[in-house]
Every structure is written in structure tokens, then in C-alpha cells.
């Protein structure tokens, strides 16, 4: 792959771009891939081979685009806002449905209960915490799937307590307060 000049900031941007367009996860998956036809561990892939394989797979994908898949993803994107979540690219190629799952309420059991003390999983910055006061089932565009969403009543000492008393968060973005680092 063509790399930018090796200034630390542009290298960082390059890595960011690989992450944003889901190329980094593809590289990682290829490195450890194993099935009946291909086992990466046996092949001793060089970095150059790995990058060439990645580029060929993307070219292959580009040549074999399917309108049904594109239309499905576009529908999912338009369901929320105008931003395109790059994580969509990582999804399998089945058009996602934004309809309430037919088996509702017999869907995955919610992980948390009302009254649980939860905090947002820290990304880079300080995070907020509070008590779960409610939950609802909603379409999560970043997963292209339905997921539980929780209403969190913020603790008085939580960083955003001065801004708002409560907020909502996806289940995968929360963890129990006692587990927090």
C-alpha cells in the first residue's frame, strides 16, 4: 500500500483512515484467518503479501457490488442521520431490516436491570455514570441490528451532571460501575 511520508502525525492519520474504512480489521482478520482452504498461520504471510491480498480482496469486492446490498445499507443510513458510520462497512452483506424483529419481545435478554449502577465504557476521556432507570429496544445503526438502550439517571458527581440529569446509552457502551477501571 502507498504510505504517506513518515511524519508521526500523517502516519497517525493514515492509521486512522485504515480504521475508519475498516481496512485495519480486515488486515487483522487475514493475519489470523483459518478454514479448510486457507490457514494464515501455516502460510507465514509477509507484510507485503498481506497488504497485496487486502488490496485484491477490496478490488474483488468493488467488482462484485450488489444493488440489493447497497440499497439495504443506504436505507439503514437514512434511518438515522446523514452521517455514514464507517462501521457499516464491516457488516456481512445481508440487507439489514429496520423493522421491529418479528419475535419481539422474545429477543436477547437485557444485560442490566433497573437500579444497576452503570458507567459509559471509557474511550479516551472521563466518562459519566449513574443508575439505570429504564430501557427500550431500538434499532442501532452502528450494529445494523436491534439492541437494548438504557436510560441512565446521572450521579450528582458524574462529569455531565451540571449539563443534564439523564441520558440514554446503548447496552454495549455501558459496563457495571464496580467493574470500571
Amino acid at each position: 500500500m502507498v504510505k504517506p511520508s513518515y511524519r508521526s502525525d500523517s502516519l497517525c492519520l493514515y492509521q486512522q483512515a485504515l480504521d475508519d474504512f475498516a481496512i485495519a480489521p480486515l488486515l487483522t482478520r487475514l493475519k489470523t484467518y483459518s478454514d479448510a482452504d486457507f490457514d494464515a498461520a501455516w502460510m507465514n504471510l509477509t507484510q507485503l503479501e498481506l497488504e497485496s491480498l487486502t488490496a485484491i480482496l477490496i478490488q474483488d469486492f468493488t467488482a462484485n457490488l450488489k444493488g440489493k446490498a447497497i440499497a439495504g445499507y443506504l436505507n439503514a443510513i437514512r434511518h438515522g442521520s446523514t452521517n455514514i458510520p464507517p462501521s457499516l462497512i464491516q457488516r456481512a452483506f445481508t440487507p439489514p431490516s429496520i423493522d421491529l424483529p418479528a419475535n419481539f419481545p422474545n429477543v436477547q435478554t437485557p444485560r442490566y436491570l433497573y437500579g444497576d449502577k452503570l458507567r459509559w465504557i471509557p474511550d479516551r476521556d472521563k466518562t459519566d455514570w449513574g443508575v439505570a432507570t429504564g430501557r427500550f429496544y431500538s434499532f442501532a445503526p452502528h450494529h445494523c441490528a436491534w439492541a437494548w438502550c438504557y436510560l441512565i439517571w446521572l450521579d450528582k458527581l458524574s462529569p455531565s451532571a451540571a449539563i443534564t440529569v439523564a441520558d440514554i446509552a446503548w447496552e454495549n457502551d455501558l459496563k457495571p460501575l464496580e467493574d470500571a477501571a
Binding site: 438515522g80 462501521s87 466518562t127 441512565i152 462529569p159 455531565s160 446509552a169
Partner: protein
């Protein structure tokens, strides 16, 4: 107090508001006005933890709700046009004491 019946014009206004696609993304708002994430959280009544995810890329990106986009669009509208709004009208809009 008995609710007031709507005129045809008022019904049209409700339709206009209901179907209105007014929205501004946090990125657009952030690029246009010199604000920090905290100000955006304050405008949208969301936590900082949520707002930070609106600005991430890749797997940590989370999409704002349609209501958040409308909050930002209305704030943008007010910032652009508050000088054109008569003072009395502006007070009726933004002074909490005037709300029922």
C-alpha cells in the same frame, strides 16, 4: 380550560413542523460555531460521554438521535437570526417563566 380549536392555517403549521426535516449534524455545528463538546452536550441535553462518541470514527462512532440534530439546527437558526426576532417575541420563546 377548554382547548382552542385549530384554524386551517394552524393545522398547516403543525404539518409543516411535523414533516420538517430540519437537522444539523454535530460535525456541521462544530465546524460552523466556535464551541466545545460541552456546549453541544448542553444544547442537546446529552451527557459528554454520548457527545464524545458523535465525534469518534470507526467502531467507537455512535450516531446522534434525530432529536439531537433538530436541537442543533434550531440552535443554529437562533444564532443566525436572533437579531431579526423582535425582543418581545424572543423573550416569549426563551424565558422559562412564559412557558405554561
Amino acid at each position: 380550560m377548554k382547548p382552542r380549536p385549530l384554524t386551517e392555517q394552524e393545522q398547516t403549521l403543525i404539518d409543516l413542523y411535523g414533516y420538517c426535516q430540519l437537522g444539523m449534524t454535530p460535525q456541521q455545528f462544530y465546524a460552523k460555531w466556535q464551541v466545545n463538546h460541552e456546549a453541544i452536550a448542553f444544547i442537546c441535553s446529552r451527557s459528554m460521554s454520548t457527545v464524545q462518541r458523535w465525534f469518534r470514527r470507526g467502531k467507537n462512532y455512535r450516531r446522534p438521535q434525530p432529536a439531537d440534530l433538530r436541537h442543533l439546527a434550531l440552535m443554529d437558526f437562533l444564532l443566525e437570526h436572533y437579531q431579526d426576532i423582535p425582543e418581545q417575541l424572543f423573550k416569549a420563546l426563551c424565558c422559562p417563566k412564559h412557558n405554561p
